[in-house]
C-alpha cells in the first residue's frame, strides 16, 4: 500500500472547483512535484495535505490511517513556505527548536537536534542571528532545518524557491533534493517552474485548472506528453495543424508536406484534423538516411543562445524552431537558404485536441 494516498480529492470554493478529482499514491521516500501555472490548484492540494484546507470530497490517508479531517498541528508534517515564514522574534536556533519545544523534548535533546539540523544546512555561523539578518537563501535553509527537526512523516514544500535569485535557486534545489534522499523523507514539492520539477523529482503531477493532466516520471512527461497542455507547458514545443492521411501507416499531411509519425492513431480516420507537435531538439540537419521524415525547409533566422543554437525554419507554410548544440566547428546555413531537416517518426507527436488525449508511442 502506498504511504500517502489522495483519493478523489476535490475542493470547491463557492461554485468554482479549485481542485477536481485528484488521485495520487505516493511511496515512502518518493519526491513528487506538483507542476502547473498559477491557479491550477497545486497549492490548494498541498494545503489540503497539510491540513490548512479541508477537502470538499475525498480522503487522504497516511501510512494507512485516514487524516482528512485531522488538525494541522496533529499531522507531523513539515511545511516550507514561499515566504520562509520564520518567526521574527526568534533566532535561527530558536526557530529550528520550536517544533521540539512544542513536543516538550528535554533541553539537551533539543540542543542536540538543533545542532544536527544546523550542520545539515551549513548554517553553523548563523545560529544566533535573527531572520532579518539573513539572506533569502539562508532563511529558506533555516526553514528547511526547522521542518526537518521534528522528523516529519512528509515534507511539504510550497514554491520554496520562487522568491530567490536564479543562482541560489539552482543550488538550493539540489541541496533540498540531496537532503531528502539522504534522510529518505517523502516529499511533495509545488512549483510553476518546469525546469525545477524536471530536475529533482521522482515523479511529476502536471495540473491545469484544477485537474490532473498527467502523472509520470520527468522523462515520460517530457518525451511523451499526453495532453496538449502538458506538451506545451513542459519544454518548448512546435505545434502545427495537420490532417490524417492513413492512420495505420501513421501518415499525415501538413501544408502539403508529408509526415510520418509513430504515434498510435486509434480512433482517427482519414481526413481528421489533428495537431502535431515536434520538440525543437528532435530536428537535425544530418541526412543519414535513417530518419523517416526528410523535410524541405527555408532558414528564416538564427539565434545564438550560448550552448544552444536556435534556428527558425519554415516547413511548408508553418514556422518551426529547431535547437541544435553549439560547437566551434558547427557549420550553420545562411539565412534565406533552402535546406533539409530530418526527424524520426517517434518525434512527431499527435495531439488530438478535441479529446485532449494525445498519444505517444508508448501511450
Amino acid at each position: 500500500m502506498a504511504y500517502l494516498t489522495l483519493s478523489n480529492i476535490s475542493k470547491q470554493f463557492g461554485d468554482t472547483y479549485a481542485v477536481r478529482d485528484f488521485n495520487l499514491d505516493v511511496e515512502k521516500g518518493e519526491f513528487v512535484s506538483f507542476l502547473g501555472p498559477s491557479g491550477c490548484g497545486k497549492t490548494t492540494t498541498l494545503r489540503m495535505v497539510a491540513g490548512f484546507e479541508t477537502p470538499t470530497n475525498g480522503a487522504i490517508t497516511l501510512g494507512g490511517a485516514e487524516i482528512t479531517d485531522k488538525a494541522p498541528n496533529q499531522r507531523n508534517m513539515g511545511m516550507i513556505f514561499q515566504s520562509y515564514a520564520l518567526f521574527p522574534n526568534m533566532t535561527v536556533a530558536q526557530n529550528i527548536g520550536f517544533g521540539l519545544r512544542v513536543r516538550k523534548l528535554s533541553k539537551s535533546e533539543i540542543d542536540d537536534r538543533v545542532k544536527e539540523m544546523v550542520s545539515l544546512v551549513n548554517l553553523e555561523k548563523h545560529v544566533d542571528k535573527y531572520p532579518y539578518q539573513l539572506s533569502g537563501g539562508q532563511q529558506q535553509r533555516v526553514s528547511l532545518a526547522r521542518a526537518l527537526a521534528i522528523r516529519p512523516d512528509v515534507l511539504l514544500l510550497d514554491e520554496p524557491l520562487s522568491a530567490l535569485d536564479a543562482k541560489i535557486r539552482v543550488s538550493l534545489r539540489a541541496q533540498i533534493r540531496e537532503i531528502q534522499k539522504r534522510l529518505g523523507i517523502t516529499a511533495i514539492f509545488v512549483t510553476h517552474d518546469q525546469e525545477e520539477a524536471l530536475s529533482i523529482s521522482d515523479r511529476i503531477v502536471v495540473m491545469y485548472d484544477g485537474n490532473v493532466e498527467q502523472v509520470g516520471t520527468p522523462f515520460d512527461i517530457y518525451n511523451f506528453p499526453q495532453t496538449p497542455f502538458v506538451a506545451n507547458f513542459v519544454g518548448s514545443l512546435n505545434t502545427a495543424a495537420a490532417e490524417v492521411v492513413d492512420p495505420e501507416k501513421g501518415l499525415l499531411t501538413m501544408d502539403d508536406v508529408q509526415l510520418v509519425s509513430a504515434a498510435k492513431m486509434d480512433g482517427l480516420r482519414k481526413g481528421d484534423k489533428v495537431r502535431i507537435a515536434i520538440r525543437p531538439e528532435r530536428f537535425s540537419f544530418a541526412s543519414d538516411g535513417k530518419k523517416a521524415n526528410v523535410l524541405d525547409c527555408q532558414i528564416e533566422n538564427i539565434t545564438f543562445l550560448g550552448s544552444v543554437v536556435r534556428v527558425h525554419i519554415l516547413i511548408g507554410k508553418t514556422k518551426f524552431t529547431m535547437d541544435t548544440f553549439n560547437y566551434p566547428s558547427l557549420a550553420l546555413p545562411q539565412i534565406g537558404d533552402r535546406n533539409q531537416v530530418t526527424c524520426s517518426k517517434e518525434a512527431v507527436l499527435v495531439l488530438n485536441e478535441e479529446n485532449s488525449n494525445g498519444q505517444g508511442p508508448k501511450g
Binding site: T54, D69, K70, A71
Partner: protein, 281 residues
C-alpha cells in the same frame, strides 16, 4: 474503517471547527460590550435632545439651538477659521513635502521631528506660551480680537501639520513623484506645469484627507480658542453646557454628525482614488 477511528476523527473535526466558532463567539461578545459602551452615551444624548418639549418627543432643542443668537456667529467663525487654516496648511505643506521628497531628503528627519511637536506640546501649554510671547511689544499680536483671530488660525494650521504632512507624504509616495517629475521634465515641462498639472491633480485624495482632518480638529477646538478669548464653536459649546439643559445635547449630536460626515467622506473618496491608481497599473 473502525468506529473508534471515526469517532476520534469526528472529535478532531469538531475541535478544528469548534475553535473557529469559539473565536467568533468571543469576538462577538467583545464587540457587543464595546458597542454598548460607545453607543449608550450617544443614544442617551440623542434621547435627551428630543425631550426639550415637555412630554413630547420632538426637535425643539435643535430649533432652539439654531435660533440662538450666538450659535450662528460662533459656527460661521469656526467654519471660516477652518477653511483659512486648511488653505494655509495645504499651501505650506504641499511644496514642503514635494521638495523634501525630491530634492532635500536630508531635511526629512528635521521636518518629521517638527511635525511631532504638536503631540509633545499639549494645546494648553502651547496657548500659554503663545499668550506670553505675543502679548508684549514688539510682537503684540493679541491686542485686538482680529489680530488674535489671525494668530489663532495660524496656530491651527501649525497644529494640523502632522496630519496634513503625513497625508500628502503618503499621496506623493503612492504616485511615484520622482518618476512622474522626471518624465514631465524630459517632456519639457517647467516647474509650474509640473506642480499644477501633474502633482496637484494626483494629490486630490491626500489633499482632501488632510483638509478634512484639519476641519475636524478646528471645528470644535476649545482650549486655545478659550484662552485667546475667541468666540468660536468650542467656547460657545462650553458656555451652552453651563447655561442650558437641552440645547447642549442637540449640539453634541450635531457635532457628532458633522465629524462623522467629514470622516465618512475621507473614507469614501480615499477608496475610489486607490482603485484608480491600481487600475492605472
Amino acid at each position: 474503517m473502525s468506529t473508534s477511528t471515526a469517532s476520534s476523527i469526528a472529535v478532531k473535526t469538531s475541535t478544528v471547527k469548534a475553535l473557529a466558532s469559539k473565536n467568533r463567539f468571543w469576538s462577538g461578545v467583545i464587540f457587543l460590550v464595546g458597542a454598548l459602551y460607545f453607543l449608550v452615551p450617544l443614544a442617551t444624548t440623542f434621547y435627551w435632545s428630543l425631550r426639550a418639549q415637555k412630554d413630547v418627543l420632538g426637535f425643539e432643542a435643535y430649533r432652539r439651538l439654531f435660533a440662538d443668537n450666538n450659535f450662528l456667529p460662533a459656527f460661521s467663525q469656526s467654519i471660516a477659521n477652518a477653511i483659512a487654516a486648511i488653505l494655509i496648511s495645504l499651501l505650506i505643506i504641499v511644496p514642503t513635502a514635494y521638495w523634501v521628497t525630491l530634492r532635500l531628503p536630508k531635511l526629512r528627519p528635521v521636518i518629521e521631528f517638527i511635525t511631532l511637536l504638536p503631540f509633545v506640546i499639549p494645546a494648553v501649554v502651547l496657548v500659554f506660551g503663545l499668550i506670553r510671547l505675543y502679548s508684549r511689544p514688539p510682537l503684540l499680536w493679541t491686542a485686538t480680537y482680529s489680530s488674535s483671530r489671525v494668530l489663532l488660525v495660524c496656530v491651527y494650521a501649525a497644529i494640523s501639520f502632522p496630519y496634513v504632512f503625513r497625508s500628502v507624504d503618503n499621496g506623493l509616495r503612492a504616485m511615484d513623484v520622482r518618476g512622474l517629475t522626471e518624465a514631465a521634465q524630459s517632456l519639457g515641462a517647467s516647474w509650474g506645469t509640473i506642480l499644477f498639472q501633474v502633482i496637484f491633480p494626483n494629490l486630490r485624495t491626500a489633499l482632501l484627507s488632510g483638509a478634512l482632518l484639519t476641519f475636524a480638529i478646528v471645528i470644535g477646538e476649545l482650549t486655545i480658542a478659550l484662552y485667546m478669548a475667541q468666540h468660536t464653536l468650542g467656547p460657545y459649546m462650553a458656555d451652552l453646557t453651563r447655561s442650558k439643559v437641552y440645547e447642549p445635547s442637540a449640539m453634541a449630536i450635531v457635532a457628532f454628525a458633522i465629524t462623522w460626515a467629514a470622516l465618512g467622506i475621507i473614507q469614501f473618496v480615499g477608496r475610489g482614488q486607490q482603485a484608480q491608481i491600481a487600475g492605472g497599473h
